[in-house]
Structures are given as structure tokens and as C-alpha cells.
């Protein structure tokens, strides 16, 4: 029997890497037996019981029904009142980081934790890539991505599976996007969160072709916004700035606050830029290029190369904050000082980081 290839993605058993075959609706590994099923044109490997998302489950299910009836754009226009959320789902600029990727046209890209398909659709809509594979663990969200791919005739292959155990054969992608994903990797696991994140990155490295690229979108543990009290992934302010053990204790004590009911201590680790560089190096990545995602990594159009003082200084000149009175002049001087001292990289709030797998 021929192995099952979901158009672009070669599926392989998450446990033993045996190539997955399809028989009727069953997806099977030659060694491990049945590992998933084929449902509504989507290979599904994760349980339908678990749900997580910006949109409550019942509303998400209704949205999917509407998307099938009237189209996904009309469904989110009618069903979602939050403008930011609608833009987050539908903006064609969600994947503008891809312009900085050094790779030939016709590449295959994996979008890990694809959510509602904003990045996958923007990548596929760019016309630059042969296929985009959207990996999403939550069935309702995978279903929504499938609806928008079908409606917009986008070259997206949706796979519903846990991103820590992707059912994918090794060395098949030219680029892998981890946008707002790495920090969540250890949320539902045991053991040290950093070890889980490192193991996850090693797994991602394995999926890349030699010379392939990972594109990481993530917050800075010590970013300026954290000091201003922005909510951390724990749902609480300042936890990223605390020593890990104190943050863990604090999360356990304040379990009744927003989003932190699920906290079993502090497990959503973020790092400083140096911390990410070390983590990527330990995972086997090379040639790391960090960018300050000026408007956040979910709006990755304005990307400032942190390894170039000339570019950062040039950016300040281009913005010309001096035109805005004393406050503008102060901002101008502070940013210039940030470039001169190297503190810009230390306190940038959010990063888009590109890193490569070695060619050999």
C-alpha cells in the first residue's frame, strides 16, 4: 500500500515515523496500527474533546456552520463584534515576515498552531509558495481553515493534530512558522517547561529540509511592555519578569484570575533575546536573525533588524519623532540611546526571529 500524502505533507506516525497509510477513513501506521482518521477532508489525529480558542466553542461551531452557508468572510463579519479579532483572522498582512525569508519560490511551508488560518491564508495568498500545510490541534479551528481554503481556492492542506506530536515525515519543509506557539508548548506537559520547549524545537528542526528556515514570533520576557504591566501568558501581569519559581508560586496563588484557572504553576516560559538565541542554538539552529516586530508579531509588517545599529538608527531618522514637540524629541533621544547602548534589543517587546537548519 502506498503511503498517504495529504497533497503536500507526507504523513508519518508521530511515535515511530512509520509512513501512514489510508484505508477508507482510517489512517494507520504499519507498526502502531490506527493513529487517526480522515474526516471532512481533513486528516485528524487529535481528540475532539479538548478545546481552546479566542472564540467560545459553541460560537465557533456556529461560525463554522455559517461559513459553510454564507462564506467565511460574511460569517465573521456577522458573527464577531470585535474588530481586532476580525482583523486578526482576515488581514492579508499576517505573514508579511515571509518577504525576509531567503528561499526560492515554490517552497513548502508548515504553519504550526495555525489557529483560524490567518497566517496560512496570507502565505498561500502571496502566490510565492507551492503549498502551505496548516497544523492545528483544535478540530473546530481546523474546520474553519478548511472552509476558507476551499472558498478562496488556496493551496492549504489542513492537518488536525497536536503540535508537540506532529504526524509528519522528517525533512520535508522549506520553512516552518511558529507564531505565538513556542511559549505554549509546555502548558499541558509535565517536567521542566524549557526542556519541553527545547525538545519541541528539536522536533521542528527534524521536519525542516537541510538549509530550511524557522520563523518564530514571540514576546520578549523582559520587553518594555512587561514592565508597563501588560498581561503575560499566565493571564497575570509581571509574571515573566519574576524568577520562574516565584512566578509559579504566584500563578498558583492567583488561580482565579483571567486565563490563569488552567495554570499549574508558571509554564508559559518566554525569554530575553539572548535566551531565545541560546535555546535555538541548543536545538541545533544556526544563523539566527532577530527582528523587533514593531507592531507586535501578529502584525509583522514593520520589522526592524536588531543586529544592525545602522538600520535601527536609520529607522529613528525615518520616523522623525522630533517633529512631535518635546515628547517626540525625548523619544528620539531615548531610541538613539537605545541603539548606541544596545538596550533596544534588550527591551524590544516582541520579536520575529529567523533561524536556519544547517545544510549538512
Amino acid at each position: 500500500m502506498k503511503h498517504y500524502c495529504n497533497n503536500a505533507a507526507i504523513l508519518a506516525c508521530a511515535n515511530c515515523q512509520g509512513l501512514i497509510t489510508r484505508s477508507a477513513d482510517a489512517l494507520s501506521c504499519p507498526r502502531c496500527g490506527r493513529v487517526g482518521e480522515y474526516h471532512a477532508d481533513i486528516p485528524r489525529f487529535s481528540s475532539q474533546e479538548f478545546y481552546w480558542g479566542e472564540i467560545p466553542r459553541q460560537q465557533m461551531q456556529e461560525l463554522n456552520e455559517q461559513a459553510r452557508r454564507v462564506g467565511w468572510r460574511r460569517a465573521i463579519s456577522d458573527g464577531l463584534s470585535d474588530d481586532n479579532l476580525r482583523s486578526y483572522i482576515s488581514s492579508p498582512h499576517r505573514a508579511d515576515f515571509h518577504y525576509l525569508w531567503q528561499m526560492p519560490d515554490g517552497a513548502t511551508v508548515l504553519d504550526v498552531g495555525a489557529g483560524l488560518g490567518g497566517i496560512s491564508a496570507a502565505l498561500a495568498g502571496s502566490g510565492r509558495f507551492a503549498r502551505v500545510v496548516a497544523l492545528e490541534a483544535i478540530w473546530e479551528r481546523a474546520d474553519f481553515i478548511q472552509s476558507r481554503a476551499t472558498e478562496d481556492d488556496l493551496a492549504i492542506d489542513v492537518i488536525c493534530a497536536d503540535f508537540l506530536n506532529p504526524p509528519l515525515a522528517l525533512e520535508q519543509f522549506d520553512a516552518i512558522v511558529l507564531n505565538g506557539v513556542l511559549e505554549w508548548a509546555a502548558l499541558n506537559t509535565d517536567g521542566d517547561p524549557r526542556d519541553t520547549q527545547l525538545a519541541f524545537l528539536k522536533r521542528i528542526l527534524g521536519l525542516l529540509k537541510p538549509g530550511g528556515l524557522v520563523c518564530l514570533g514571540i514576546e520578549n520576557r523582559v520587553g518594555a511592555e512587561s514592565f508597563r504591566g501588560a498581561l503575560d501568558h499566565s493571564g497575570l501581569p509581571y509574571t515573566s519578569l519574576m524568577p520562574r519559581r516565584l512566578a509559579s508560586y504566584w500563578c498558583s496563588r492567583t488561580f482565579n484570575q483571567y486565563r490563569s484557572k488552567a495554570n499549574r504553576g508558571y509554564r508559559t516560559y518566554t525569554y530575553s533575546l539572548a535566551g531565545y538565541q541560546k535555546l535555538l542554538r541548543e536545538a541545533g539552529f544556526i544563523d539566527t536573525q532577530p527582528y523587533h516586530a514593531w507592531d507586535g508579531y501578529n502584525s509583522p509588517t514593520n520589522l526592524l533588524p536588531l543586529n544592525s545599529r545602522g538600520a535601527l538608527s536609520g529607522f529613528i531618522d525615518l520616523m522623525d519623532y522630533r517633529q512631535n514637540g518635546r515628547r517626540g524629541m525625548l523619544k528620539h533621544l531615548m531610541l538613539k540611546a537605545g541603539v548606541a547602548t544596545g538596550l533596544w534589543s534588550v527591551f524590544a517587546s516582541e520579536f520575529t526571529i529567523l533561524s536556519r537548519k544547517d545544510l549538512c
Binding site: H93, D96, H98, Y99, L100, W101, Q102, M103, P104, G127, R128, Y291, T301, N302, L303, L304, P305, N307, S308, R309, G310, A311, S313, G314, F315, I316, D317, L318, D320, R322, Q323
Partner: protein, 204 residues
């Protein structure tokens, strides 16, 4: 995209350096930097028909002005190519900071200084880029172009044309001059006593 841009910049004799990516009115814009804070090159990706037309007009203007680029402080055109439906257009970067858009009433000295900078540059510009003929010739050309335009000129435009014809004889002795077309403080940059001017898409 980065591969393609690097190759084109190499052909143009420039090292790609590090790219800063910014959102621009016309689409996305990349600034290639080396060690200094002045960009080596500025590359625009234009997607809409209107922005593509603007970029093509500016590239054509910079090509005409290229022999005088150093004197005028204008960028030099580098390359243009289509990528799918989008146009990629590149020019050299220019150094400096723009003139102030707003000045306080007590800043008379600064205002005078800015006027002097622009005045000096205009003198250089209009004596360097010499247009043949007179203002009368240009007004006649414009009238012809407008009359043949689709859509036809509106009532206000016709009134202006008719009024201008009343003065045509007086304009026959005034030589025609080159016009930047969008000269405002944001498009005039200064760097150590040198003046540079941006945005040439309305040059005529």
C-alpha cells in the same frame, strides 16, 4: 524575495546589507542598510494599479534626472521588475532628516533658514534642469491634453483654462521651468549642509 533583491542590488553594484521592512502608503518598503544610518537603497513593493503607476512615474523621472542626481540631491534609479501582479521598484537611498513640518511662531529664524534651504535648492534645480519653450507653450500643451482627456475637463477646469488664455501673451516671454510637483518639508532632507529631495513621481 530577499534572494531576488540581493541579486538585483549586486547587479546595481550595491551590497544588500541588512533590510529594514516598513509599511508604506504604496505597499511595503525595504531599506537596505550597511554600517551607517543612511540607507544604501530603498525598494518598494507596489500592488495596486494606482501605486504601480506612481512608482513607474517616479522611476521614469529619476531616469531623466539621473545625470543631475548628485547636483540635485535626487536618488538614482536602480531597477524595476514585476513579481506576479506587484511591481518592485528600487532607487538609491539618501541621507539626512526632513525639514520641520510645523514651526512655532517664535521660530522665525528656523523658518527663514528652511526657506533659504528650499530657495537655494530651487535655484539649482531650475537652472540645472532646463526646459525648452515658454510658459505659454506649456499652457497650450496642457490645454490640448485636458481637452482630449477622458473624462473631459469639468466646469472649474475649463474656467481656469479660459482665464489662463487671457494671459497667454504676457506668458510668452517667461521661460518654462522644471517642477518637482510635491515640494513640502517632508520631501526635503538635509545632511551636513547638503540638501536632498525625495518623491519625484509628479516631476514635470
Amino acid at each position: 524575495m530577499l534572494d531576488v533583491l540581493s541579486d538585483h542590488l549586486k547587479v546595481a553594484g550595491l551590497a544588500a546589507g541588512t533590510l529594514l521592512q516598513l509599511e508604506a502608503r504604496t505597499g511595503i518598503r525595504w531599506f537596505a542598510f550597511g554600517e551607517s544610518s543612511s540607507p544604501i537603497a530603498v525598494i518598494s513593493l507596489c500592488r495596486t494599479a494606482e501605486h504601480i503607476a506612481e512608482a513607474r512615474e517616479e522611476f521614469a523621472a529619476l531616469t531623466v534626472l539621473e545625470p543631475h542626481a548628485a547636483v540635485l540631491g535626487a536618488p538614482r534609479p536602480l531597477f524595476q521588475f514585476y513579481r506576479g501582479d506587484a511591481l518592485v521598484s528600487a532607487r538609491t537611498g539618501i541621507p539626512g532628516l526632513p525639514l520641520r513640518g510645523e514651526l512655532k511662531s517664535k521660530s522665525a529664524d528656523a523658518f527663514e533658514k528652511q526657506l533659504r534651504i528650499v530657495g537655494n535648492w530651487l535655484t539649482v534645480f531650475q537652472t540645472t534642469v532646463v526646459k525648452s519653450g515658454t510658459v505659454r507653450d506649456r499652457v497650450n500643451e496642457l490645454s490640448e491634453a485636458l481637452r482630449g482627456r477622458d473624462p473631459l475637463p469639468n466646469a472649474a477646469e475649463i474656467a481656469i483654462l479660459e482665464r489662463s488664455h487671457e494671459f497667454l501673451d504676457r506668458m510668452s516671454s517667461i521661460p518654462a521651468t522644471a517642477v518637482h510637483g510635491d515640494l513640502w518639508p517632508g520631501n526635503v532632507l538635509t545632511d551636513r549642509h547638503e540638501t536632498f529631495v525625495l518623491d519625484w513621481n509628479t516631476f514635470h
